[in-house]
């Protein structure tokens, strides 16, 4: 009887969980906290819920749902055997290493999902506000400084090599798919903590932006009314036929970026393709509908689950993860601060003053960053709506972070 009970105990996950001295319990708690944030606090629920559930199911010993990270030669040591994942037929990966590894090595490791999600993001992006306020797009470039500043600090800390530091810095781009795409190319073993940090900080945009803005901006600066500035200094180019420009724009941008930074085409090209399908209108409405709904949602489910499943005890509970969480926060904060500082410098020289909130939205996180900045500006002056102006630098930030990712990949990949 005792033997039967002992066998039953060994069959369950309890024996391994207890033997691991509570490390699994930490992972379960983390999964529950993420689920709580996603479900109850509504922090990016579309991504945090699949990621959190991926974390949960990946950390049951014997479940074979955790992603096994291969080394650079593709070797995986699992259950006392060595596997070379690059040489294994894909059905063997599913059979020998489990369903989640099959999904991970087929969809994530190949870099397939992030560009497809970017296509959906493009379909949901409106370049109209950026085209109406083109000059403001330059602040989308300034806000990428956080990426490179944190890269420098991370290398200086001695804890990360260049590829790892670049993957950490890209969190400052505040763009989930871009962060994942770059990390897959440069430091796939850090995918889980980087994806979690990127999406968590994006969800915390309503907290982080006001914090940095209050530290750096005066009330007078935040009360700069952009519409009044437009009346004082009217824009030189008024758009007469927005529909045609919106159709030509994605084609032209893709061509130019592809010529100058070919490694960014995976992201920019798909973003602009999605946007083109949207702007063409009724002729491609079926494709637009598919990529912005079914395709994007399907990809989001698998991306979230696979990223969560990479967060196993061995891969997550270490000092590198803590370094990523702290470094990611600084990357985020620095990106916002550098956008604001560039606006301040601009205002010293230009007659037409710009509200520094437009610099703060230079990081991606579309459209939440713009909405948060609009709320801040209306707190100081209820009539001062800066949403449309913020969207210009915000959308430019998506292009900027994708280009920064392209530079990092082409130099380090």
């Amino acid at each position: 009887m005792e033997e039967i009970l002992n066998n039953l105990y060994q069959m369950t996950a309890f024996s391994d969980i207890i033997a691991a001295n509570g490390t699994y319990i930490i992972m379960y708690l983390l999964a529950f906290v993420l689920l709580y944030l996603g479900i109850v606090k509504h922090f990016e629920p579309l991504l945090l819920v699949p990621i959190a559930f991926g974390v949960l199911i990946a950390n049951f010993p014997g479940g074979d749902m955790g992603v096994l990270q291969a080394d650079e030669t593709g070797l995986i040591h699992y259950n006392g055997k060595d596997y070379n994942v690059w040489e294994m037929p894909i059905h063997d990966v599913a059979h020998e290493l489990g369903l989640m590894n099959f999904l991970y090595y087929m969809l994530i490791k190949t870099g397939f999902l992030p560009p497809v999600i970017f296509m959906g993001v493009g379909a949901l992006t409106d370049f109209g506000p950026m085209l109406r306020n083109l000059k403001l797009a330059i602040f989308g470039a300034a806000a990428q400084l956080g990426i490179f500043a944190v890269l420098l600090c991370a290398v200086g800390s001695g804890q990360f090599d260049l590829k790892e530091a670049a993957s950490l810095g890209i969190i400052g781009g505040a763009d989930g798919p871009t962060a994942i795409y770059t990390t897959i190319k440069l430091a796939p073993h850090l995918l889980a903590p980087i994806a979690i940090a990127a999406y968590s900080y994006m969800a915390l945009v309503p907290v982080i932006i006001p914090l940095v803005v209050k530290l750096l901006c005066t009330k007078k600066e935040l009360m700069i009314n952009m519409k009044e500035q437009d009346k004082l200094f009217p824009p030189s180019n008024k758009i007469k036929n927005e529909k045609v420009i919106k159709i030509i724009f994605p084609i032209a941008v893709t061509t130019i970026v592809a010529l100058l930074v070919p490694s960014a085409v995976g992201l920019i090209g798909m973003l602009m393709f999605g946007n083109l399908l949207k702007e063409i209108g009724s002729d491609t409405s079926r494709l637009f509908d598919t990529i912005s709904n079914s395709v994007m949602n399907t990809c989001t489910v698998f991306l979230g689950l696979c990223v969560g499943a990479t967060m196993t005890v061995d891969a997550f509970l270490n000092w590198t993860t803590i370094g990523i969480v702290v470094g990611g926060f600084f990357a985020f904060g620095l990106s916002i601060a550098s956008g604001i500082c560039m606006v301040k410098i601009w205002n010293v020289f230009a007659k037409k003053k710009i509200n520094p909130l437009i610099g703060a939205t230079g990081l991606s996180a579309v459209p939440m960053a713009s909405r948060v900045c609009n709320l801040i500006s209306t707190e100081y002056d209820p009539k001062n709506h800066v949403l449309n102006y913020c969207m210009s630098s915000n959308v430019a930030g998506v292009i900027g972070s994708a280009v920064a990712a392209g530079v990092l990949i082409s130099f380090l990949g």
Partner: protein, 88 residues
């Protein structure tokens, strides 16, 4: 200086210059596009305006309108009335 830091500094300089250049090109491209389109295709094709709601009421069959009025009077106890009727 640590060669890694040196490389990171170079990457920072190249990265920021590239991002600025690309966005400046995007701004320039957008400006040129706006000018060209304003010059060669300034007219936006406007869809035919939908007939005003007032006309729509006239197009509604008198019997149907009477039925709708009676229904509204019944439901609202004579207090409500139809201001416009639009075919979907």
């Amino acid at each position: 200086m640590n060669p890694l830091i040196n490389e990171a500094l170079q990457l920072m300089a190249i990265g920021m210059v590239t991002v600025f250049c690309i966005l400046l090109i995007v701004i320039f491209l957008g400006t040129v596009l706006i000018k060209l389109v304003n010059k060669f295709a300034p007219e936006e094709v406007v869809a035919k305006k939908i007939a005003p709601a007032a006309n729509a009421v006239q197009q509604v069959d008198a019997t149907v309108k009477a039925v709708i009025d009676a229904t509204i009077a019944q439901i609202t106890g004579g207090k409500g009335h139809a201001t416009k009727i639009t075919k979907l």
